[in-house]
Every structure is written in C-alpha cells, then in structure tokens.
Amino acid sequence: MTEPGKAAPAAPGRAMPLADPRFRSIFFQTVLIVTVLAAGYVAVINADANLRAQRIATGLGFLDHPAGFGINQTLIAYSEADSYGRVFVVGLLNTLLVSVIGIVLATIVGFVVGIARLSSNWLIARAAGAYVEVMRNLPLLFQILFWYLAVLGTLPSPRQSLSIADSIFISNRGIIVPSFAFGDGAEIVLAALMLGIGATAALGMLSRHRRRATGRPLTLWWAAVLLLVGLPLAVLAATDFPIGIERPVLRGFNFVGGVRMLPEFAALLIALVTYTGAFIAEIVRAGILSVHRSQTEAAYALGLTRGLALRLIVVPQALRLIVPPLTSQYLNLTKNSSLAVAIGYPDLFAVFAGTTLNQTGQAIEIIAITMAIYLLLSLTTSALMNWYNARMRLAER
C-alpha cells in the first residue's frame, strides 16, 4: 500500500496546493492509482519476460490436452484419456460433494452442541463446552491429519475388515456399503417414489393451510406412510423388483460393488464437520441467548412445552442473528475443504492446482483459475447473504 499519510499534516495557512483538501484528495488518489497500475504493469512485464526466458507455455490451450493420470473418486465419467478441462470439473464436483455433505452435517452438529451448551443439565452443558473448546483450539489441518493418520490409518486391511451384517465393511480402504442395482423398469419405481414425495409435500402444505384457516391441522402421518413407503413398494412388486441391492464382495485386493467412501474423504469430512460444528455451536448459542428471556417466559405462560417454545418462539427469532455468521462458516468450510490436498483427496485444489499444475507447469493460469473459482463462490454467497439480510429486515418492520 502507498503511504499517503507521510505528507498529511500540512501546515495550515500556507498557500501550498496540498493544503487544499479537494486538491489533496485528488492528488492522493492519483498517486494511489498510478502506483497500483505501475505495480501491475511491472508485474506483467516481468512475468512476460520470465515466461519467455523459461519457455513456459502460456494460454488456456492446456485445458484440452489429455491429462493422462487417474483419479480415484469421480462423480462423472472420467478416464486417463480425458482432458485437463474435465479434471477441473471432476475436482470441482468433488469439492462441492464434500462441502455440501459437510455443511449439512456441520449444521446438525452445531445446532445440537449449541443447544446442548445451554442445556439445564449441568453435565451436558459442560461436556458440550469442552467439545467446543477442544475443537476450536486445534488447527484444522492438525485434525485432518489426525483422523487420517492416527485413526483411519490404523484400520485393518480389506481382508480383515470389520463388517456389519456382511454388507457394510470398514477397512483402511474406506467404508463400503451396499448400493442399488437398477434393472429394466427401475425408472417406473423411481417415478412412483417421486410422486409419493410430491404428494406428501402437497398434503403438508394443505395441512398448514387448514391449520391457518381453522387452527386444526390435518392428521396425515398414515397418508404419508402410504405415499412414501406403500406406493413405491407396490410399484416395485408390480414391476417384478427391478431395483435390487448390490452387496460389496471382496475380490482380489479390494471390494467390488457397493458404494465406497474413501478414507481420505472420510477423514476430511469428519474433521471439517467437527471443526466447523464447534464454530456453528457458538453462533447458535449466541443467537439463542440474544432472544430475550421474557420471550421464553411468555411462551411458557402460554402453555408451550420447552421443545415447542424453542422451535416456535426462540429459534425463528434467533435465526435472524444466526444466519449471517452461519453463511460465513459455510463459506469457510468450503474454502477449508482445499486442505484435502494434504491427504490426497482429489478435490479441485488437489487435482487442479496440485497435479495439473505439476504436469503442465502453467502456474499463472491454473492458480488464477482456482482463485477465481473460490472467489466466485465467496462473492455469490455474499450477494445471497445481502439479499437475505435485506429481506429479513423487510419482514421485521
């Protein structure tokens, strides 16, 4: 940064141009802009000279070149013959996968622990407090490595894996659970399931509408069970069971079939969830404490139970305070997922800023793209946040 302060205390009264505030303002701004532009220009000139001298290829053409390396977790089809561009997409999807699951679980952990910290049960409140302190005061990377090396790394090999009912296997290759195998006509069953979910949701809305109108909701648990479980099961039977369950089987070195959660994924997820969960717990606690005590007392006076008072009175009011810092925690979690590179989980950073950078050597392009992606995520979230804040303020007043 420039230091406009050096010349600031201009002696009053003297007829120097710097004494005129308007002129001074324009002067400093010009100096600043010129400095920034000059620094940028020098950087570009240097980079150009360095790239030429080192004969480093430039441009985004590398995105079309075949990558040639394997990735062990891909949400879309990927083979070694695919391009670096596809590697980018695979990495981005892996980042989003761990972030989305992490956000959901961290929210649950955070709310449970945050409410537990305020529990009337002394022991639970203290245990939750201890959890928060331990998690917040250990570096995240430390926790990721701890889970990966000290916990998951000590699990047995696939041949000695721990098994639950011969269908879930836990080993140092990850956690393998049975998966669905789809045959002919599976889409009909899935459609039935969707229909059931849609119909249940519609019923729920109807019920809420009825409650608002008459004060008495519909009793609809039996309808929900019928729609969600009965309908798909009936269709399943009618179409001769096109959806089966595929159990993992140990064949050769590894399990075949089923769905596998990589130990790298598991370590990253556990660490992200427990770490971010502690921060969310503090946010939730502060949010709930901010709701005035009289609100709770009033709710009790109306005859609401503790649970209902919390759900209907306290939480909705607390949410207004909770949501903004909560979003920034979500953003932190997403950004922190880039620490995957330390344990070899193939997220955006590991496969793109790590492997692709190494194989192509095009540091400027790759780091710029990676930064731009994270920046885009941040700015989008901030924009959504501002929109949400504006909306909440309108609803309030």
């Binding site: 303002s25 240097n46 090396l149 590179v341 994270y374």
Partner: protein
C-alpha cells in the same frame, strides 16, 4: 431445555465439605442432572461418553505410556510385554527437530533468547494494569522484529549466519505467526481506514484488496506466493521461500484484520469524529489521537481471536514444503527407527497439547479482555 436461570458458576463445590454442603451437592445433582427421566438418561449417556473418551486417553497418555527407550523396539507391545500407550521417548528423540528444525545445536540459544525477549515484551503489553503501553508497543512492534531478525538470521555482529532452510518446527510456526500479526496489524489498520475513506479510489482499492484475500482459501494464497510471485519479479530476484510464505500469510491476515478494525471504527460514535474535527485536528491526527486508540481497544478481543486463527493457519505452510511444527512431526513419522504402532498417536498428542495450550490461552485472554471491556454484560 433452556434453563434461563442457570448460572453454573453459582454451584461450584469446594471449601470445607460440611454435612450441609454435601447435602446441597446431592440436591444440586438432583435438580440439575436428574430432574426428569429424559435428563437422567441424557446425564448417564453423557457420563458414558465422557468415560469412553477420557479413560482410554488417560490410559494412553500416562498409564500405559512408555517413558524410556532408545528406538522403536522399546515401544513394541511384544517387547514390553504389556499394552503400550504413548511412546514418549520418540518425542524425546525428536524434540530438537520439533522445536528448532535443523537449526545448528550450538546456535539454538539464539532462538531461546529471541523467544524469551518476545515473551518479556508481550506479557506486559497484554496486561492492562501495567504502565508505559506506548513505549512497550513501540518496542514490540518496532524494535523487537529487528532484534529478532538479527538474532535468528545472524550474519552480522559476530553471529553465524543461519539459513532459513535449516529452520523448522515450533520456531517456524512462531516466526510466521508473530511476523503475521506484527505485519498484518498496521496493514490491516491502513486498509480499514482506506475502506472507510471518502476518496473513491482509496476505498475501491481497499475493498478489492480485502474482499479478494478474504474470498480465497489461504492455501491458494500460499501457492500464489510460492509458484506465482517469483514469476512477477524481475529475473534473478529470488525471494527466500520462508519470506514468500510470510508475505502471503501477512497479506491474508491483513485483510481479516482490516475487517476487525473496521468493526471497531464503526462502533465509535460520530460525535467523536466531529469533536476531533472541531478541535481542528487533521485526518491523521484525528485518527491517530482520538479514533484509533478507542477503536483498537474495543477490538482487542477480535484481534486476539484473529491471531488464534492465524496461529492455527500457520500449519498450512507444510503443504508448500515449509516444515513447521506439524510438518516436522509428519517428517518424524517416516523415521524407520521409530516406526511403532503408537508413535503416530503420540506425535499427535504432543503437538495437540502444544497447539491447544497456545490457542486456549489466547482465547481465554480474549474472553477476559472482552469481559473487562464490557462490564455491563455480566
């Protein structure tokens, strides 16, 4: 679930255990732990949870631990003839590397002296009751970095030059953290002032700078510093790898610091600005003499919390091959002389205790300052 009347501090048992006191403890337990069936179940479940976490931990760290030994065989269960917990001789053997990296043994006193000096200046600075704050702050933020640099790097005043590639362990962790905080605070204040400036160009540049660094993960910043920054410099300019990383961490921390300081600036009432202007103070004197002293005092807890984050973030440098405490620990794991089943867990226990002590200590300090600054809250 929420008990608004709960104030746990009121129930601390202690003092002389009279009969009446014991009676109170049981009533307290009944009232707070077993007041309903649900609560009783939850209490028991929590007790069980605490037991399953704490007992193995205690067993591992102390009861089953091995305290003496020269190599991995002393930590193997079949050689010792019992369950083996933490393998402390591993830490003993690796302690010099974990603390100093490969800093020459004969020169390690310089590291210790630097640390002692830092502590000697920092502690009085953090205690509000002690006088000479300004002098103390100038010593810590102005003189100490120079003295520390000379002591650690050497090459002058008869001190042998010690290259930074020999540095490692806790030394690197602390060097990055301290330079990060010392550098990011002034830069953060400037950025915060810039963001609230009335000059559009200054404000624009500050906002772009702040939002850019806050929007990207630290690891990309470190990669930027390591792989991209050298390309932007004139040919033949090689920046020391540790310095590169320190610059990256500092810029990153400055953006967060700026937001903390901005919070403080916003909390200062307009009247203060107007009063300062009415006294005829210029911008810098108004900020330096009136606004900033108040604003910074308000955000001390935020600054300390920021520093905790920075301290934790220093671990990321291991990804760009700088060996901080965690990096040295990880390197120590690959020593075949100490490849025993429990060495990894031992290493994590050791590093975990160090990190926890530092961070927990700082967070308590922040909390204490917060209470001091807002006595009305209590």
């Amino acid at each position: 679930m929420v008990n608004p009347n709960l104030d746990p501090r009121g129930y601390q048992p202690g003092g002389v255990p009279s009969r009446e006191r014991r009676f109170r403890v049981t009533t307290w337990a009944r009232a707070n732990l077993f007041n309903s069936w649900l609560n009783a179940v939850l209490t028991l479940a929590t007790l069980w949870l605490i037991w399953t976490v704490c007992w193995p931990l205690l067993k591992f760290l102390l009861i089953d631990a091995v305290w003496d030994g020269a190599s991995r065989v002393d930590c193997l269960a079949d050689r010792v003839g019992r369950d083996v917990g933490a393998c402390w001789p591993f830490i003993g053997a690796k302690l010099p590397q974990l603390l100093y990296g490969f800093y020459p043994i004969n020169e390690q006193w310089r590291v210790n002296l630097t640390a002692a000096l830092g502590l000697g200046l920092l502690v009085p600075l953090l205690m509000p009751s002690l006088p000479y704050k300004t002098a103390n702050a100038i010593l810590f933020f102005g003189v100490y970095p120079v003295v520390g640099f000379v002591l650690l790097v050497g090459g002058m005043l008869g001190l042998e030059h010690v290259e930074t590639r020999l540095w490692g362990g806790l030394l690197v962790t602390l060097v990055i953290a301290v330079t990060g905080i010392v550098g990011s605070l002034p830069l953060g204040i400037l950025l915060a002032l810039g963001r609230r400036s009335e000059m559009p160009a200054v404000r624009g540049v500050s906002i772009i700078f702040i939002e850019f660094w806050r929007g990207v993960p630290l690891i990309t910043v470190l990669f930027f510093a390591t792989y991209m920054l050298p390309l932007f410099l004139p040919a033949g300019w090689a920046i020391n790898p540790l310095l590169r990383v320190m610059i990256g961490v500092m810029l990153f921390a400055a953006a967060y610091m700026a937001e903390v300081v901005r919070g403080g600036l916003q909390a200062i009432p307009r009247a203060q600005y107007e009063a300062a202007q009415a006294l005829g103070l210029g911008y810098w004197r108004m900020m330096g003499l009136v606004i900033l002293p108040q604003a910074l005092k308000l955000v001390i807890p935020g600054i300390v919390n920021n520093f905790i984050g920075l301290f934790k973030d220093t671990t990321l440098v291991l990804i760009v091959a700088i060996f901080d405490l965690l990096g040295q620990l990880r390197a120590a794991f690959s020593d075949p002389n100490w490849a025993a089943p429990t060495t990894v867990a031992t290493g994590f226990a050791f590093a975990g205790i160090i990190y926890f002590c530092f961070c927990f200590g700082m967070s308590r300090y922040a909390l204490w300052m917060e209470r001091r600054l807002n006595p009305a809250d209590r």
